[in-house]
Amino acid sequence: MENFKAKFKEEAEELIQKLEQVLIKVEDNFQDKESIGEIFRIMHTLKGSAGMFGFEKTGMLTHRMEDIYHAIRDGESQLSEEIVDLTLGSLDLLKELLKTDEKLPKKSKQELEKLLIRAIDYVPEENEKETKSESEETGSGNKKYDDEKETGEGIFFYILFQPQKDILSRGIDITSVFYELDELGEFFGFPILENVPETKDFVPEDFYLGWDLFIYTNGSKEEISDVFLFFLDHEYTIVPVEPYTLETNKEFTEKCVNLKNKKTSLNDIKSRLEALTPKKKSKTKKEDEAEKEEIINEKETAEEINEKDPIQALKDKKENETIKVKASKLDELINLVSDLVTINSRVETISQNIENADLKKAVQSISKLSKRFRDNALELRLIPVKVLILKMQRLIRDLSKQLGKEVEFVTEGTQTELDKNIIAKLEGPLLHIIRNSLDHAIEDPDERERNNKPGKGVIRFIAFYSGAHVFIQIQDDGRGIDTEKIKAKAVEKGLIEKNSQLTKQELYNLLFQPGFSTAEKVTQVSGRGVGMDTVKKEINDMRGQIDIDSEIKLGTSVTLKLPLTLSIIDTLMTKVKDTTILIPVEFIVQTQLNTYKDKKQRPDQVDFNNNPIPLIPLRKDFDENGDIPEKEKIIIVRQYDRHYAITVDRIIGEHQAVVKPLGHYQKDHPYFSGSSILGDGSLALILDINKIISNKKNQMESS
């Protein structure tokens, strides 16, 4: 039972999400019959299964909602802003109910009661209707659910099968047809005996039978055709049919002239077809009328499908079919694949020293395979950024109302895919950025009109690929960032000198300083101190970067640059003494030999493009004497618009590293963010550029 409960919760969460989507859609058009119908249906489904699994309050709430939308659907009342608000409110409560197993905290309990009372106002003639609608609806509603299942699951085919007389001498075993059809689905048939001759004319090697066959299958027409692979085109015909369209299906009636002339009547077939239809319940008389209507509808849809080529439709469906997998299982798979890749490179290294062509070939194949395996497995974790949109939509909707602003939300590239772990971590930062845009950037309608802007502001979400990265941009057409204000504030906070000359970009970067907020008044919404610095940290933690660009009075855009996946990175392999250090390639600008004037003493800064940049000598931290190796290499890295020089003893080459997190005790290590096992089984450390640079900055500031 617990298991079922978990399933129910999972399903319910999905439905609630769907509801949110539909609600936001319906808000643009209160007359959208289709969406209203959908809301009603989802509420109904929720009510039904909530009752079944003992979620009483959930059932009560959804029942009330269902009533409201039932009335709207039937034209007895009108959808309004208030109802949408009420529904959204109920969704929040539903989520909480699910989460807490209906053990609501006191505050939410009161909210639920209030909501239930408010909801009554929107159901017309409630007392009179309730009992009636209750019984009626469960009947028709359940049926609808069944019907949906039915049409979604399988399809009927009629097959006229009339092999030629010589079929046996062609080496074909007819019985295999029936065995294979049996595997495809449930079927029945009637033999065609017309061609069977009188005993005196009977030739034992000849074949005289034929069949009218009916099959209900989840398979496609192609799969059925495959059963008849060895038969000639004129020996079989496959026609998709529905029990209801039997009389109207032209192809079918043409092909089954045989049937009509015989004892088997069309009605007989119909009833047998219907008997095959799964979960078809016997209906009460009362429902018969509704039933008729539905038959007509189904006829129409069946015809529609016919026009669209039912087979293609079926195929499309198959290709888009998905299954649900527990995230932890997926993570386990990725872990195993990473181990495989690691061991594989070990095997590669070992086999290099063994002269055996067969072994080398085999190892090569394994390497290829495991790389494909890895790519495939990683792809499993990619999900479209679309899943983030909903939350943003909801936030914009609620907030803009609260703030008295009008905002349109435009999205682009929502199919762009990212690792699910990144998506999960992105939610917070993105919502924060949106909150900022709404609160600080987008002006009140009045102010906008004074500045000759349309009263309705625009927030744009854009996602796209570029190389091994995904870019996400949040743009708004608000008032832009006033660099003067930033400067004043920074001076006030003692972050910069009053007369320091900073570029626009450097000023924007100040926004990422802890505790920096330019909002003149702290509103309920933003400017609570947990600002952009947290956002930046979270983005950096997933090896991403964040950039702000703005044009005063025109708008602001915040750009996130994110890696496609967290578990594999391209690195440059280097050595510092005996330690192998991997430096993520994405930060590296170039590498060069050292140009120290004094070979015994490292300078604090080196020249890069005629600018002095700070030097970070890794060796100093590994070797207390700090001897400078003769050919010490300098690697220029860039963080945002600043360059830094990191020194290493030797550069080995490029290396694709499978990232393993550091152990618990080392997770706050000041330089490294992870490790990786190399081909020879030894360990390499992955340098965290963000960490090491901020470390360097602190050092510089304190000295």
């Binding site: 001498s169 080496g171 074909i172």
Partner: protein, 122 residues
């Protein structure tokens, strides 16, 4: 018991490709360069499938099929005709002499495997 398949083609490469395609199907493959040689395999032992080329020296595919179908033991065995032949007349002829399936060379491995497995009912 392993199913036994006779593969006949005068071109060594084709025989090799057929064997390669079927190598994982756990079959015993007997090959021959032409019809005459192939007939030697039909000596009373169980044969489950004949895959043969159409145009071959000594004895061509059509004649081979006729001979095989004439033997009582092999009267109903499945036969796959494998050929580059596009001449419709010849194709009609092969149909007349009753082969189970007809595969045009060059063939797609998957399709070929599917047909063979179906003919063998594996």
């Amino acid at each position: 018991m392993k199913k036994r398949v006779v593969v006949v083609d005068d071109f060594k490469n084709t025989r090799w490709v057929v064997e390669f395609t079927l190598k994982n199907e756990n079959l015993e493959i007997l090959s021959a360069e032409n019809g005459k040689e192939a007939l030697k395999h039909f000596d009373g032992q169980n044969i489950d499938l004949l895959i043969t080329d159409l145009n071959m020296p000594e004895m061509d595919g059509i004649e081979l099929v006729k001979e095989v179908r004439n033997m009582e033991k092999y009267q109903f065995i499945p036969i796959i005709m494998l050929t580059t032949e596009r001449n419709p007349q010849k194709k009609q002829m092969a149909e007349d002499i009753k082969v189970t399936a007809w595969i045009q060379k060059p063939f797609k491995q998957d399709q070929f495997k599917k047909i063979v497995k179906k003919a063998l009912r594996i």
